[in-house]
């Protein structure tokens, strides 16, 4: 969900197949075990997602 609206609905197991940029963006922000120690990416909140 983004700003009170559903942007995408998926089976939890298929989360990596998310198509919507907001869903993909959120997944990108998560740290991973064994991942890099560089600063994590965060979302550039595009206003268009709420429309």
């Amino acid at each position: 969900m983004y700003k009170g609206r559903v942007v995408e609905e998926l089976e939890a197991a298929n989360l990596m197949q998310a198509k919507h940029p907001y869903t993909q963006g959120l997944l990108n922000c998560l740290p991973r075990i064994g991942g890099s120690r560089q600063p994590l990416p965060s979302l550039d909140r595009a206003a268009g997602w709420a429309e």
Binding site: M16, P31, I33, G34, R37, L40, S42
Partner: protein, 251 residues
């Protein structure tokens, strides 16, 4: 010498109906400038360890030393200038009817530190918030902004040690990322030492050099970051936590 040394710590809550052994004989030590994690299932005693350090949980056995000295009871001012805690829920930990300005200036007043205005403005800027936020109340901020205020408050007295109890578990993935980045930057800039609780192994892996896996109030296994990333755990319980880690499902 280690900055934090916990030796054989036990915490027992004697409630009216039962006795809860929340922490049983846990030992750990954290070097200066190290970041050390605590993970484990709900109720395993992680928060109780942080609370015991701050004098907020009854120690029934063992010792806690900071910089080689046993912690005093009550903890007192010198302790709060050295050790500060950040809680999971910034809404509950900030006074709802105090402005951010009052929240941030209070520790200065208690410790008789002057130059309040400049320090408050700098504290907000350091955590990436506009100085004008000092005139707001907690409910006028987002969850991530409130957690930044809680971090700013913890840093007002320039402590060496931050105890972080699930500081991002109330935040969405993007705001979590921003908050973890902020904490890492502050640790590097100020040479801070972290003792951090999380239920999320990937967060611990990103933030910590070593991690202690806990279960039922006991220490199960200590892992370096390399051992965690290489799945080199030796106990079944640590392996179960690792295999169940959400980030592994993401591929």
């Amino acid at each position: 010498m280690n900055l934090i040394e916990i030796d054989n710590l036990s915490v027992t809550f004697d409630t009216s109906d039962r006795v809860v052994r929340a922490v049983q004989g846990v030992s750990l030590s954290v070097a200066r400038r190290e970041s050390y994690g605590l993970v484990g299932e709900s109720g395993s005693g992680k928060s109780t360890i942080l609370r015991a350090i701050c004098g907020l949980a009854p120690i029934s056995g063992g010792t806690i030393r900071i910089n080689g000295k046993p912690v005093p009871t009550p903890r007192g001012r010198a302790f709060s200038a050295q050790v500060q805690m950040v809680f999971q829920d910034p809404y509950a930990s900030l006074h709802p009817r105090h402005t951010i300005d009052r929240t941030l200036s209070e520790p200065l007043a208690i410790h008789g530190l002057g130059n309040t205005d400049a320090r408050v403005v700098k504290a907000l800027t350091d955590v990436g918030l506009p100085p004008a936020f000092r005139f707001r109340f907690p409910h006028q901020l987002s969850g991530g902004q409130r957690q930044r205020v809680a971090i700013a408050r913890a840093l007002m007295l320039e402590p060496e040690i931050l105890l972080l109890d699930e500081p991002t578990s109330a935040l969405d993935a993007s705001v979590q990322a921003e908050t973890l980045n902020l904490l890492n930057r502050l640790r590097a800039e100020r040479g801070l030492t972290f003792l951090m609780v999380s239920h999320d192994l990937a967060v611990i892996d990103h933030m910590c050099d070593r991690v202690l896996v806990m279960q039922h109030g006991r220490a199960v296994e200590e892992l370096t970051r390399e051992a965690l990333a290489g799945a080199k755990m030796t106990t079944d319980y640590a392996r179960t936590l690792f295999e169940a880690s959400a980030d592994r499902m993401l591929g």
